[in-house]
Amino acid sequence: MNNKTKTPLFHVSRRAALPWYKTWAIRGAALLLALVLSGIITSLVTGEDPFAVYGAIWKGSFGTTRKFWVLMQNIAMLLCVSLAVTPAFRMRCWNLGAEGQALIGGLASAACMITLADKLPNWAVILCMIVTSLLAGAIWAGIPAFFKARFNTNETLFTLMMNYVATQLVAYYCVVWESPKGSGTIGIINPKTQIGWLPQFPSQKYLMNVVVVAVVCVLVYIYLNYSKHGYEIAVVGESERTARYVGIKVEKVIIRTMLLSGAICGLAGLLLVGSTNHTLTTTIVDGRGFTAVMVSWLAKFNPIWMILTSFLLVILGRGAGEIATKFGLNRSFGDILTGIILFCIIGSEFFINYEIKLTRGAGKEG
């Protein structure tokens, strides 16, 4: 047809579900594109050899056994916090308070270590730490959950505000328990007696955390996908009206799920204080409560995929630091690369859900 009206070159339409290998091919292509793009930008802006930069990122993560285990520990902790927020997210309840919930769990652990060290045997202290930290995290999440269930308050703002309260509380106790006096920090707790230090595998300091988080990961996966609770969470998240219609008590599910979410955050705090650092600072959670949001979303709230996404985000973060020191670049440059990679990966979802059809010529069918 020789029409003179402007026909659009292409149009976008929704795809039917793609087979899994195609979706992964698209994601793989996106990652490759991201690396090529970052490479071009690196050589254009800094004049560095992009392969050297990538090499540095790789070495920064896997260069030595120690670096490898630090990496593993970081992945485990990020994954732990991500696992914590995921049940709430599946329920479309945006718990942005993981930072504070983990911090308050850490505070509870530290409190037990400091105040009970000379009163109870080591195993009893550890037991107290576990119970109080899980409980503290759960309460910290339970407060906003109660108000959401009862008065329909906005959980996003509420949980966010609870972070600041937690930070201030920890800041206060850092001064109360400061050691040495006048330093304003707690320092290593019980350095001599090692009371309250969680048991470790003799071979590897960080292996314990990795194992604990791996177990939690599998449990959360099973809980969300195969348990009645998990099913209720999904229904409440998708449609509250439908949930009420089949007799699910929505308020109960909201509070129960948030308590669980907070308790896992509390566990993260316990591991950070009792196993990794043996001290408490206001920045001990290190923004993981917020990075976890990204980890969980990128993995579409699937705990197993979250292993991959937390791996990706930790490597990118560590790599950014590594190239900053190694090439004398600004740390922000690492962040630019991280941004490019995330942009491509998130953007690829568009091509998984939609296809672009060329109006004329050989338009490929998805």
Partner: protein
């Protein structure tokens, strides 16, 4: 008619959604001064075809010409520029604004409400609409809102109007009014397309019918030369009988007794006012009323979903034992055998989870039956398979999210699941809303077979003709009060229609 230039010519239109062929090389002409009824079963591609005309979708193949000139419609804005306006099933109005404000919303140029009101009045006078430009949308009835939608489209200069199932939400009287207006517009030389499932409307209103089946154009003809039976056969592809069975009730005895039921909504408005009736086992109790007369609240109160202010709802079991349902939680009521299949206007709002697949949606009723803390995932998927076969649900698989199914199939999933529980009371509202003939009859048959099993069926319907044919007794609601209960056999449509608008059906209140 053939020597006229068609207002719209659609040639060879093809549209695919993934592997599904929604429209397959469709040819369609729309003429000015004519009302065209577009017929077809659910999923036959009527709405898709019209959405391409109004710029919501873009065709994969084919051409559209307006008044003989080829055009490209990329967006609803393009469609408006060509004088095409579509009135959707779901109104797109801002509640807190007035009719006039809604009508001029989004138009370029200076906001001059006075001039707008004047123009609106002119349009109303020309075609016989009744719209108060200064009335707020939230104060309006469904029918008034629809009028505002139509005026909005006319205000923008549309002379090709597409109405997608406009009568689904109207009373018989309102439908008559709408049809009068549509005839006026036709006589004024506008091209009108109406999508509907109701045969008697096609026969009384349209000049020409065009029929689609499975995305393909089957044929068109002047309405005068055809009849409901022929059109139905063309739509379905094989002969269908158009009579709804009404077997005699089997051994009816009281199953649900409602006394002086009063319900207020959150704002404190009385939704049900001292409603009393008895629903018998083995009987279909039809509930008629203008939408929003308390049907929803009534069913939800019985199902335990709606807080009740006063009154009683008693469940009577086979041995005559009575149990009060008010105060019980929905799960306990469900366990007693009360099943509710309520098809809301958005179809997916209640009863189903849009993003879950068929199996998971079947599980909504049965997930508590799993062992220990785990759900039993096998049984619901088996049920889903049976349901797909039994109710002829067209779906790629039972692992498909229900939001991907067409409206009719979504309803089959919902109704099918509720019936699968072998209930003793079946509450169903708008079960055939928007369903095609074939599916509707399948649902009527299913409901009848439940009745024969001794189930007490409470059937809330919007098509009065069907209510009159299907129900053993009809309860008419008017503004939350019982306007009357009439036997289904021999009830007159006019009479019931009057009772819907005025308590008791008398001329004055």
């Amino acid at each position: 008619m053939d020597n006229k230039i068609a207002a719209v010519t659609m040639r060879n239109i093809t549209k695919r959604f993934g592997p599904t062929l929604a429209n397959d090389k469709v040819w369609l002409n729309i003429y000015r001064g004519e009302i065209l009824a577009l017929l077809g079963e659910n999923g036959s591609g009527k709405t898709t075809l019209m959405n391409m005309l109004s710029g919501i979708y873009f065709p994969d193949e084919g051409e559209i010409a307006i008044d003989g000139k080829p055009v490209v419609i990329r967006s609803p804005k393009d469609a408006f520029a060509l004088g095409i306006g579509m009135i959707h099933q779901h109104f797109k109005l801002v509640d807190v604004l007035t009719a006039a404000e809604n009508i001029v919303l989004g138009l370029p140029g200076k906001l001059d409400l006075k001039a707008a009101s004047k123009k609106i009045k002119e349009i109303c006078d020309t075609y016989g609409f009744e719209v108060d430009p200064d009335q707020k949308i939230y104060d309006m009835s469904v029918s008034q809102k629809q009028t505002v939608e139509i005026v909005k489209v006319l205000y923008r200069g549309a002379d090709i109007l597409i109405l997608d199932e406009p009568t689904a939400v109207l009373t018989p009287q309102e439908t008559d009014k709408l049809f009068a207006v549509l005839r006026n517009m036709r006589d004024d030389g506008k091209a009108i397309v109406i999508i509907t499932h109701k045969m008697h409307e096609v026969e009384s209103l349209s000049d020409r019918v065009a029929i689609l089946r499975h995305g393909q154009f089957i044929g068109d003809m002047p309405t005068k030369t055809t009849n409901a039976q022929e059109m139905t056969n063309m739509m379905v592809g094989h002969p269908v009988t158009l009579n709804i069975d009404r077997p005699e009730p089997v051994d009816p005895h009281p199953r649900i007794e409602v006394k002086d039921l009063t319900v207020r909504d959150i704002e404190g408005t009385v939704k049900l006012d001292h409603v009393s009736f008895t629903a018998n086992s083995g009987e279909i109790l039809g509930i008629a009323g203008i939408s929003g007369s308390g049907q929803k609240e009534l069913l939800e109160a019985i199902a335990g979903l709606q807080p009740v202010e006063s009154g009683s709802i008693e469940y009577v079991d086979d041995s005559g034992k009575r149990e009060q349902l008010i105060g019980k939680d929905p799960f306990a009521i469900q366990e007693m055998g009360v099943a509710l299949s309520f098809v809301p206007e958005d179809r997916l709002g209640m009863g189903l989870v849009a993003n879950m697949d068929l199996g998971n949606n079947m599980m909504l009723r049965s997930y508590r039956k799993g062992r220990g803390v785990f759900t039993n995932r096998k049984a619901p998927y088996k049920l889903a398979h049976q349901m797909v076969d039994f109710l002829e649900i067209s779906t790629p698989s039972v692992e498909t999210p229900v939001r991907r199914l067409s409206g009719g199939n979504v309803q089959k999933v919902l109704v099918g699941r509720e019936i699968a529980n072998a209930p003793s009371v079946l509450l169903t509202a708008y079960a055939v809303r928007g369903l095609d003939i074939n599916s509707s009859y399948l649902i009527y048959d299913t409901i009848n077979s439940q009745k024969m099993r001794g189930v007490a069926v409470i059937y809330v319907g919007e098509d009065l003709d069907v209510l009159l044919e299907l129900s053993d007794r009809i309860l008419v609601l008017c503004g939350g009060r019982v306007s009357g209960i009439v036997p289904g056999r021999g009830a007159k449509k006019r009479e019931v229609g009057m009772m819907m608008t005025k308590l008791g059906g008398e001329a004055d209140e």
